[in-house]
Amino acid sequence: MEYSSEVVRRCDAPRRVGELPRATPGLSSGEAEDRSLQVWVRFELQVQDGVIQTVRFEAFGCPHTVAAADLTAERLEGQPVNAARRVDAKELMRELEVPIEKLGKLLKIEDAAAACVSGTATRT
């Protein structure tokens, strides 16, 4: 399997891994998984005045999944909260040069981010 340099860089040193303190004001979380694809993703957002201040993630998945979750966490910070509903797996694929067969895994990133806003978790 080939990986873009950006995927390798983000997997070697993801910057937003972890959890936010439970007492964080404006904390919301969402997760999604697909056992058949062996992928699980969880995001936690700190939202203040409708704006995402801080994002943390955890992921059990391939390097493309981890890198895409890290990129998503970075991009969401500073965005209106509804941006979490508009994460686009295909855009992540293009940016990180992810092969098409990994699209199903990246769709779980969309689902996990959206679940932070809707308060639902998706499991397949």
Binding site: Q38, E58, A59, F60, G61
Partner: protein, 386 residues
């Protein structure tokens, strides 16, 4: 910082021994003639081929005249299975196991498509095929049993002596894929109840692209490649003299009695270090294993991410021949591992040029990367690690 590369993938292939390279270079530059030619240069090349045949035969305890050169163990496995079962015999049934190399399993499936019945025997949780299960699978229509000597993913040694004895008693030919064991685990084909045995050079510090099939006297095989009388009509094609010379040199250099204790000590030292990683578990029976292969599961770590994190270590998820497949290892699933656990497993294999320093450095890298990746998936659901 660029890390030092450490090669621990000898079960996939081994570096060419300098002495083998020297023998091959000498052959390529001096003795280029076709060994089937009757002129003097051709006769000299023929002598090189026959010397190599004797070297290979001596290492596996077989008469030289029963060794037939092929392009490698994959071709040898194809020739053995198809040569017997497409040979017009009246008994169209093959018995093999679910944990064989793809070159056996895919050939078995091709034979099934051609109307041959195939029985697949399971292994136990330790990766061993029970000879009684093989006996139970043999029927009146069985022509051939094919069981590997050493499993390429787990290093577990199968009881080929017991299985061979059963086959002999039942009047069934027995094929052994010894690609992973020849030259590493003692093998005396002339004394064993083995009728066909696949060998390769490149896992023994020899060249790629050359192997052999041992065919016991009286075994009838239909050739699979046509177009010449080379190898007594069993395998057509101009003999690759330099490759054959390389294989002969590699088999002469290999000395399991001397090398196996050192490799086993390196393997055990690696396991002693890796078992300190929380949750690490050994795959395959501890008491029946080749000296060079170690297969370890690290639960809670996604396999592809682990291999990327450890890319400075030349190690495998399983068979190199299936490295591009997204499927979990059929061998580890055969041992009862779930897909996540099978995917979280790594095969380490040591060889002639592996050093103690490399073992220590590799174990150190794993001890850093496994906990780091577990932190990335710290709250992951239980299915990720069971």
């Amino acid at each position: 910082m660029r890390r030092r590369e450490i090669y621990l993938d000898y079960a996939a292939t081994a570096p060419l021994d300098p002495a083998v390279a020297a023998a091959m270079t000498d052959c390529m530059t001096r003795e280029f003639a076709n060994p089937s030619s009757v002129h003097d240069p051709g006769r000299r090349a023929r002598r090189l081929v026959e010397n190599a045949r004797a070297q290979v035969a001596a290492r596996v305890g077989a008469p030289a005249g029963r060794i037939f050169f092929t392009s490698g163990a994959t071709e040898s496995n194809n020739l053995a299975l198809q040569g017997v079962l497409r040979g017009g015999r009246a008994r169209p049934h093959l018995v093999t196991s679910r944990i064989e190399h793809k070159s056996v399993l895919d050939t078995a499936r091709a034979l099934e498509a051609a109307g041959v019945a195939v029985s697949y025997v399971d292994c136990d949780a330790g990766g061993r095929v029970n000879p009684h299960d093989v006996a139970a699978a043999i029927g009146p229509e069985t022509a051939l049993v094919s069981i590997m000597h050493v499993n390429n993913e787990t290093g577990v040694i199968q009881d080929v002596a017991a299985i061979g004895a059963i086959c002999r008693e039942r009047g069934v030919w027995f094929h052994v894929d010894a690609a992973q064991s020849a030259g590493k685990v003692p093998l005396a084909l002339g004394d064993a109840a083995i009728d066909l045995c696949s060998l390769t050079a490149h896992k023994l510090c020899g060249p790629k692209g050359i192997g052999a099939l041992y065919v016991a006297g009286g075994v009838l095989l239909a050739p699979q490649i046509h177009g010449g009388e080379q190898e007594r009509g069993l395998r057509a094609g101009t003999l690759a003299t330099h490759q054959i010379v390389g294989m002969g040199a590699a088999y002469e250099l290999a000395d399991p009695a001397a090398e196996a204790p050192r490799l086993a000590a390196l393997r055990d030292r690696l396991w002693d270090a890796l078992r300190a990683v929380p949750g690490a578990r050994l795959n395959g029976a501890a008491e029946h294993r080749s000296p060079h292969v170690l297969n370890v599961t690290f639960p809670g770590v996604e396999g592809e991410s682990l291999r990327l994190a450890l890319r400075d270590l030349a190690i495998s998820a399983g068979s190199a021949c299936a490295a591009d497949s997204p499927e979990a290892s059929h061998v580890l699933r055969g041992l009862g591992l779930s897909d996540p656990l099978a995917a979280s497993s790594l095969r380490f294999s040591v060889g002639r040029f592996t050093t103690e320093d490399e073992i220590a450095a590799a174990a150190g890298r794993v001890a850093v990367e496994v906990p780091r990746l577990r932190e990335v998936a710290k709250s992951a659901p239980r299915w990720c690690s069971v």
